[in-house]
Symmetry: C2
Subunit: 159 residues, 2 copies
DNA sequence: AGTGTGTATGTTATAACATAACAAGAGCAT
DNA sequence: ATGCTCTTGTTATGTTATAACATACACACT
């Protein structure tokens, strides 16, 4: 698929959230796994923005809401959401971001704005297919993360 | 350049080490920075294998040799080596590996074997060029890390 | 109702990774 | 000898992540 990366463009965020939650609910039902209150709330928290959050930031929110105060609570919920593909881990930041394209590609690529922290999701070209084939390496999972500046955070060059 | 990834193939490792050290010495001289004993030793330690090491593993080695026992010693040396391009940080592992291709590309891509831990370095195709252009994102640095199995660690399928 | 099973959560403790901040030495130029 | 810069030493702490064990809850079977 050659989809628009979507990430940084302004968009109807509330519908973005709604569809993500619905997709998660549907997927959980289909897979016979539970979107429990903690798990659902963590997903909602991450969906509030397209900014990546650390596990302890998420935990602080849970704590404030009385949903849990100890690290494993946050890590377990995040682990579940990552396993189900509703949330992605950003290795570069040791942080987590809600999946922007529910149902779309696994092994996505990310563009991380160092200005505003927003993370956009894009299609991962098979970046290592050729060298892997050459060397006989069997790729199981690929991390592709670019850091830089989103359009809104770039210094105006013309004016 | 469309270079052989080299990584997992057996090779003359001592010459591999020698050339890396020489390249580092030359580069340091050219840039008027110092390859001090600690820095040099850290590079040598990482060069002993193509396996990524955590900062604390490196530190343990330094400590055993009387070269330093506190985290900042290791992190400073590693930071220097990364800045100079002699060592790469593997985000996925929170670990460090000696650069296998002194002088070659910046922004390399890595293949990480989950069996033996070896890390091979390859050319990073411009994996995000297209989506970045589409969305107006200005890429400054890219992390490309594939995890999987190197040829030696793949279960024999035929026999 | 009682019991077993599986899944999820609560809690303690600790492991693993990383850096801020300040003190002290070493080399070199003035 | 004084000041400057770079490097290292050290203390303390911050940040990220998980192992291990206890508890609870739901459902299924008898």
């Amino acid at each position: 698929m050659s989809q628009d990366p979507k990430g940084f463009a302004t968009h109807d965020h509330s519908s973005c959230v709604r569809s993500a939650i619905q997709a998660a609910e549907a997927a959980c039902a289909a897979r016979h796994v539970q979107l429990t209150p903690v798990r659902r709330r963590v997903l909602e928290i991450l969906l509030e923005s397209h900014v990546a959050m650390g596990a302890y930031d998420v935990l602080a929110r849970l704590d404030a809401e009385g949903l849990g105060s100890k690290p494993p609570v946050a890590y377990r919920a995040l682990g579940f959401l990552v396993d189900q593909g509703f949330v992605h881990r950003i290795e570069r930041l040791n942080a987590f971001v809600a999946c922007a394209q529910p149902g779309a590609s696994h092994d996505p690529a990310f563009m991380i704005c160092r200005g505003c922290g927003k993370v956009a999701e894009a299609e991962a070209s098979a970046a290592l297919a050729q060298p892997a084939a050459l060397s006989g390496f069997q790729v199981e999972q690929t991390v592709i993360e670019a850091e830089g500046l989103c359009p809104a955070c770039q210094p105006e060059h013309a004016a």
